[in-house]
Symmetry: C2
Subunit: 341 residues, 2 copies
DNA sequence: CTGAAAGCGCTTACAG
DNA sequence: CTGAAAGCGCTTACAG
């Protein structure tokens, strides 16, 4: 391949001028710039990114750090972020730390990042305090999604409010014996979401003056199978709930399967809600609370790129709105009188 | 941060020796190596990757090129590949080309790769001939998954055989009026899979002497919603099929929803099969043909890394086996006599 | 507006 | 086994 010197020779200028002309820097005459552009095109010149990084200290790469890539939420965050990064000419270094269980060691090593990226996006990842400190010491901008972290901007939804929306919808329909299926968090992910969603449920119930007994709150693995299991045990009770608020669509679909397995009609005998608006939700007619996920990835990237550009606005906490999507898994409880709000 | 010279000074050796010692090269005395290691640890030295790449020509980065990151198949391929790459000390440059529609322009630009990666993994991506040629000219190893491409190794399943497994299972149960829901391929992805799966269906039917009329083969968007739509129109026919072979689990779940919506009992009145063994399949009791996806990502990575290491074994075509998983959506057709194979 | 030259921080023949 | 020195291919003050 041709080097910058070949282009300089061909255009009859110095390598410094080639460098300036090609990067669109000012203070190059239009005529010279054109000569350089022509020569570069002719020679199919591409600047060596490792050489320019070494010289400039900029890499044009952003790290996207995730605990999982296969889960719906993370895949959509990655998609949103990588799309936006690409539009801005950045490359994506995918750091898939994987799930090493609760007693995991330091997964983030500074040599994953050192002089390799200009910034990092941390997607709903639980970090050790040392990992956080290590990332901070690296000296580049960091923005997180899902988990606020001191000193960094964060984009997320209001988890408490999202579940409130679903719970209030059911209360509005006249339900009183409402159960909640929440999650044990996945290892290595944000641990505030499951707790916040339970909090939202309890708060909405309390506001409506409805009691919440222990049996009404179930914990499941954050998967369809987890929802199925929790659903079965909840729905096999003698006095089963008339509605179940589930903390994610994937778990909610598990609860729907449990109802089907037990011959319980939805929404005739049972109402179910989820959170996310997963593509499977529509097909199941699931009433849910939609959160814009790839959008959150894009927003976090925008904030990050502004920080990279030096427009530092200080750490910000951006909460994106969620929205109740009523479909066919919710209805007034059986035998209920029309309920006027 | 400290540079290699600082380490050299501290250890009382030359930078060349530091470089050799730290990379575990031979011809360094044990004693010298230890002195260097100690000094490097003391100074928390990390070699600048851009500097070593410039000097050595190796980047330690592998490009993972995908058309989508949010779809099940791709997310699992990425997970398998990134995990294996990480284990081998490689970094992952995620190139998410996105869906630009059928008339898409060149999405792969050589400046995405030039001097930036040591190799590339191309995951089930339809490429323009020029893109293929461009990748070839870059001169590093390439391995693909899903779509064989002249000159490169490829890892995939036998799509024809996978659908045969499902179809023969249904034929073995006594079904004769079997429909097939296949896919319009997603833009920018492998276009052989949908066709191959239809071929497998037709071949199994032909082998059993069963006719396939036009109405028995439906094309749908490769999504749950697509399966729902195709399922509705298929199951609303006066003479509806007793079984449906669906080309993917996500579409099959859509077909199950269609049956539920029309009040058709599965498997009493209708059998349904999928392909993949998506995590949603188990929860729906879906009989399916399992393909190991992250495994394919890992295998492709292994082949790629051997090529990077110079152990070139020439282009190979690796076909990984699939497996029928019988669950609760398949049964003999209504009114059928016990069928002896 | 343009160029000469130093410098980014490593690796790698080459010589000993 | 070890070192001096060239070289990887750019960018960036600095000078003009």
């Amino acid at each position: 391949m041709s080097r910058i010197e070949d282009v300089a020779l061909a255009a009859g200028v110095s390598t410094a001028t080639v460098s300036r002309a090609l990067r669109g820097l000012p203070k190059v005459s239009a005529e010279t710039r054109q000569r350089v552009l022509d020569a570069a095109a002719e020679l199919r010149y591409i600047a060596s990114p490792t050489a320019s990084s070494l010289a400039s200290g900029k890499t044009g790469v952003v790290a996207v750090v995730v605990p999982y890539v296969t889960r719906w939420y993370f895949a959509h965050l990655i998609a949103g972020a990588s799309q936006m990064l690409r539009e801005h000419g950045y490359h994506v270094l995918l750091v898939d730390v994987g799930d090493e269980g609760p007693g995991r060691e330091m997964l983030l090593d500074s040599r994953l990042f050192f002089k390799r990226v200009d910034a990092a996006l941390v997607l709903s990842l639980r970090m050790h305090p040392q990992e956080r400190e290590m990332l901070g010491r690296l000296g580049f901008p960091v923005v997180s999604v899902g988990v606020p972290s001191a000193g960094w901007s964060c984009v997320r939804i209001d988890d408490v409010g999202a579940i409130r929306l679903a719970t209030e919808h059911l209360i509005g329909l006249g339900h009183e014996r409402i159960a909640f299926v929440g999650g044990k968090p996945l290892p290595a992910t944000d641990f505030t979401t499951p707790g916040d969603r339970e909090t939202g449920f309890r708060a909405a119930m309390a506001d409506a003056g409805l009691p919440v007994r222990d049996w009404q709150v179930a914990n499941a693995a954050w998967t369809p199978a987890g929802g199925l299991e929790a659903g079965l045990s909840l729905l096999r009770r003698r006095q089963r709930p008339t509605a179940v608020v589930v903390a994610s669509d994937e778990m909610a679909i598990g609860v729907l399967s449990a109802a089907r397995e037990l011959g319980i009609d939805v929404p005739g005998e049972l109402s179910v809600t989820g959170v996310d608006d997963h593509e499977m939700a529509a097909v199941h007619g699931l009433t849910t609370v939609r959160q814009p996920v790839s959008e959150q990835g894009r927003m976090a990237t925008e904030v990050l790129l502004r920080a990279v550009a030096g427009d530092d606005e200080g750490p910000r906490l951006l909460t994106v709105p969620t929205q109740l999507v009523v479909r066919r898994t919710t209805a007034p409880p059986t035998g209920s009188v029309d309920h006027v709000q």
